[in-house]
Amino acid sequence: MFDRDLWREIFQSINMNRTRSLLSGFTVAFAILLFAVLFGIANGLGNTFAEAFVDDASNSIFVMSGRTTKAHKGMQAGRRIQFKNEDYDYLKNEFGDKVQYITARIYKNVNASFRNEKNTYNVRACHPDHQYLENTLMAEGRFINQLDLDNKTKVIVIGRLVEEDLFQKTTALGKYVNLNDIQYKVVGVFEDEGGDNEERMIYMPITTAQQVYGSNDYIDQINLTYNPNMNHDQALAFGRTITNKLKNRFSVASNDQRAIRIRNMAEANKGVETMTSGLGILILVIGFGTLIAGIVGISNIMIFIVKERTKEIGIRKALGASPKSIVSLILIESVIITTIAGYLGLLAGTGILNLVAPSLETYFIKDPSVSTSLVVGATITLIIAGTIAGYLPAKKASRIKPIVALRDD
């Protein structure tokens, strides 16, 4: 079937019928090109969307306290609820593996200086887990660790912009920064995709902050992430459980909305998930749509080609061609054209995507790209569709009586 003579016949046919070959090739190439470009743009939209929500871990729960608004168990309204280290320990130990990461936070505002450079910054005193909760990326050095907590060392981790402000072009790592007249050693510099404010932040061990700024064990807020294996409903239920247990612990009325507040990202995530799956459906529709358009196109062309070649088929049959040789002649030709054209469409499609990608970022399309295996899959689908679409008319044509095919009309 694959002898050299057959190839010679096929390439002669392709070469000598250029309009026909180009037309069918163009259909396939254009379908694949459209597929790649549209899919790429849809992916780019998805990327933009995903990025908008990557700053904080998407399974976070923030636990905050305030003043009571209702009298309860003999205590008056307006009582201030203050979290302490024991509450952090309680949350950490009470829920076992339902809690993935957990950190307490203390907020402070400091005047920082290094040599002649001065500025005010927000300080977050926290536990080591904080790094994962905020998606903090270490550019240099390390984050706060357990040893810092145990020894209450005076170390800080500063944001990229803090380093820029205070150290100009020199490196901050290992230098000492003055915060409200106390010297802290910089052990790390971090980056955060959450924006400039996040990169103007300073982190220090929570135990250090407690000792230096108040000699107490108060904490302002507790952040945790729930086990990512939990589904949406379980996560919401987990949030309610935490609220109820803490209200119990602090003797707060169960209908008091202010004393214990939690922000569960699972609630916001529901919307994000709906959006993302909506986008996914859109991408699928676009992909299937272009693919079906391509299949219809190549099918039409195959039917047309067989029709156009009916007379040639008649001649070949009169000269002794078997039906099988006729079918393989037509089909192999179409497979070759589809494959080459599909490959060119793939190259053109990804080429265009790479070319326009930078200018598309203004339109909320980031990194528009499409996986090669996906486009190759689409091309193979088209080849198979073209083969099936060509096989039926080719089979029929190969069975036509030569005399019918040769009739002058």
């Binding site: 050299r4 000269l319 190969s398 005399i403």
Partner: protein, 233 residues
């Protein structure tokens, strides 16, 4: 060489059917040159197509070179056509994107010959019809007479036992017709058996035997004195 007994053929037309051949008996010996004549609708082309295995009879017996031709599968018909028969058509039926040589060599391709052999044989037959210098030309670069000669070379390439011609001069002017007929006569002189359909009296008289059909039956079957085409050329 060729023997036909009580051959019937009808074509369906809507609900009824048209009885085209109504019991044809014909026997052709090796080396004969037979013209089949008749007005249009007499069934002459249908008869030729059945002989050429391009069409099938409904009823009757057809024996070609002692091989009964019946219940042919497509594949078998293809092999028989390739081995036994050479076709010459009124409209030449060359493949327009193949040059003269490739057209002539096409039956050899379906015989499974090697390319070198095909080119050799193709050129030999092109030379025989006097078109060796035109081997690399496409059909649309050739005149009508040249096209028909390429078609004849193609019909001869597979060295068939029987040459079938359907109005071989129908699309040609008188002078070219005579040239083609002269060539066909020379093939017959060499011993080829030739069967041709024509409605031109003078072309028919250049054969050795004339079979006249009317309404699907043979009216007349006579041997004639062959008129040599060379005297007109």
């Amino acid at each position: 060489m060729l023997k036909i007994n009580k051959l019937h053929k009808s074509y369906p037309i809507g609900d009824s059917s048209l009885h085209v051949l109504k019991g044809i008996d014909l026997s052709v010996e090796s080396g004969e040159m037979v013209a089949i004549m008749g007005s249009s609708g007499s069934g002459k082309s249908t008869l030729l197509n059945i002989i050429g295995m391009l069409d099938e009879a409904d009823e009757g017996e057809y024996i070609l070179d002692e091989v009964p031709i019946k219940n042919l599968t497509e594949k078998k018909a293809a092999i028989y056509r390739n081995k036994f028969l050479g076709f010459i058509f009124q409209s030449f039926n060359l493949i327009n994107y193949k040059n003269a040589l490739d057209n002539v060599a096409l039956p050899l391709y379906y015989q499974g010959l090697k390319r070198k052999e095909r080119i050799e044989k193709g050129l030999f037959h092109l030379e025989k019809v006097g078109l060796k210098d035109w081997a690399n030309h496409l059909p649309n670069e050739l005149s009508g007479g040249q096209k028909q000669r390429v078609a004849i070379a193609r019909a001869l390439a597979a060295n068939p036992k029987l040459l079938l011609a359907d109005e071989p001069t129908g699309a040609l002017d008188t002078k070219t017709s005579h040239e083609i007929m002269e060539f066909i006569q020379s093939l017959n002189d060499e011993g080829k058996t030739i069967l041709m359909v024509t409605h031109e009296e003078d072309i028919a008289n250049m054969c050795k035997r004339i079979v006249r059909l009317r309404d699907g039956v043979i009216m007349e079957d006579k041997f004639v004195e062959q008129v040599r085409a060379s005297q007109y050329v």
